[in-house]
């Protein structure tokens, strides 16, 4: 920060400083604590994305949300938790695959332990005794693996039905789907099993988000931007395995005050 300030003081006038900050920090003018996100380049298809977002919203309000609400009304919390645990346990092979690809030995071992314990003691995954035994759940997917290997996310895309995404995330979903043992198993089963698995996953995931999404929609001035921002921040958090960045933003309130900007 000091070098930036020295650079600014020696090369620019005060008016230039404001302009420099506005131009260079427009996307993260006083960016709190996460890596910089430039939405101008991150969401170049905003107009199309907003239309797709509206379409997804309509489908959600007409079909998915009522199903999730009905599921919540009918199945008590304990039952819903068991179903959630069961479906999460089925994700273990994908998580393990990506733990290994990312060279995360400890997390891979954690995933194996969770799967073994929950599938046996936890009665086919309906229970989650592994968490109590010191093996907490974590998520991994192939898009995160690509990110770890330095593949850029690409622009923000709202995909039909799947919602917020990026080309990297879409590619990751395809690979995760292809390597999942259940995909191969269900290929030889009738359509009913395949669809019911997909629909259950969607309804269970939506039920979990009922309150959160309602709160965000009610409390936001632009729901589309709120969801885009949350998606981006969450993905960054997931890629870093929930460990906050070690490099706090170089921009701070001090700097803004020093430069006689808005503070």
């Amino acid at each position: 920060m000091l070098s930036l300030m020295l650079f600014l003081h020696t090369t620019t006038s005060k008016a230039d400083i404001s302009q420099f900050i506005e131009e260079n920090y427009n996307s993260s003018y006083v960016e709190p604590s996460t890596p910089e996100i430039n939405y101008n380049t991150f969401d170049p298809f905003e107009e199309t994305n907003r239309k797709m977002f509206a379409f997804n919203q309509a489908v959600d309000k007409a079909i998915l949300k009522p199903m999730a609400q009905a599921y919540r009304d009918i199945v008590p919390e304990g039952g819903r938790e068991s179903i959630r645990n069961f479906l999460r346990n089925l994700e273990s092979p994908t998580i393990l695959f990506n733990d290994i690809l990312q060279g995360e030995e400890e997390r891979a071992s954690n995933t194996v332990n969770r799967f073994v314990i929950n599938s046996s003691v936890g009665f086919f995954g309906f229970g989650d005794p592994a968490t109590d035994m010191g093996y907490p759940r974590h998520t991994e997917d192939f898009a995160q693996t690509l990110a770890v290997y330095g593949v850029e996310s690409g622009p923000y895309i709202v995909s039909p039905l799947f919602g917020p995404s990026t080309p990297r995330h879409i590619a990751g979903r395809v690979v995760d789907f292809a390597v999942h043992p259940l995909t191969w198993y269900l290929q030889n089963q009738n359509d009913g099993y395949r669809y019911s698995y997909g629909i259950s996953e969607a309804v269970v995931a939506r039920e979990e988000l009922l309150d959160v999404l309602d709160d965000i929609e009610v409390n936001s001035t632009d729901y589309y931007v709120s969801i885009r921002n949350m998606y981006m921040q969450r993905r960054i958090d997931e890629i870093s395995n929930g460990v906050p960045s070690d490099e706090p933003s170089e921009f701070s309130i001090d700097t803004a005050r020093d430069l006689n900007l808005v503070f």
Binding site: T34, N229, S240, G242, I253, D254
Partner: protein
């Protein structure tokens, strides 16, 4: 003579670095203590079975009002549009930001009515400087649900001109509240005025 002078200068520099780093640690310790007090009070309000929803909201609002700097948060959220906020609307705007954040935080924390037996805890255990003047800190911690780690939590804390610690951002599970609102406002203000934003906020939160 110059050799001796160099020694003195190096010694002086080392003393300055030592004193500055000791101050930094001291401020960071205070920042962690401050955040722990705020989280304890917040959780005791949210987890209380004695208060009604409205009482909880009112108590949370009072607590946040005492410990958060809504004026600075509001400015961060406006970003480059902060200069367009008319003087006579500053108070109204800050008041709306307080109401909006209180409601947002309350809604996020209080959605587990169906899980009355679940206990949440927040452990804040590390801190680092932000900026160059020992006046801004990032305090990191974990949110625990029944003793298992649920999510990371990060607080952006400043020492204001009255030498009080104040929260100016909360990042839960990687999602910064201030940054999220800043993006909403920036998008809104790209084709509307600050007055329209204030009208919009007052319809929602007043």
């Amino acid at each position: 003579m110059f050799q001796n002078l160099n020694k003195y200068l190096v010694g002086l520099l080392l003393i300055i670095i030592f004193v500055s780093s000791a101050h930094s640690r001291e401020y960071c310790d205070e920042a962690i203590t401050f955040i722990n007090e705020v989280t304890d009070e917040t959780l005791s309000i949210i987890n209380s079975s004695e208060f009604t929803k409205n009482q909880k909201k009112s108590n949370l609002s009072e607590l946040l009002n005492k410990n958060a700097d809504f004026e600075t948060m509001g400015k961060i959220m406006l970003g480059k549009y902060a200069r367009k906020l008319p003087d006579d609307m500053k108070e109204v705007y800050t008041d709306l930001i307080q109401k909006m954040l209180t409601k947002t935080i309350y809604d996020r924390l209080d959605n587990d009515e169906e899980e009355p037996d679940v206990t949440y805890a927040i452990v804040n255990d590390s801190c680092r400087n932000k900026g160059s003047k020992n006046k801004e800190f990032l305090v990191d911690g974990d949110v625990l649900k029944d003793d298992s780690r649920l999510a990371s939590i990060r607080w952006w804390v400043i020492i204001n001109k009255d030498q009080q610690y104040k929260v100016i951002d909360l990042t839960l599970a990687g999602v910064s509240l201030t940054l999220q609102k800043k993006d909403e406002f920036t998008s809104y203000l790209s084709n509307k005025s600050v007055s329209q934003l204030i009208n919009n906020l007052s319809k929602k939160f007043d």
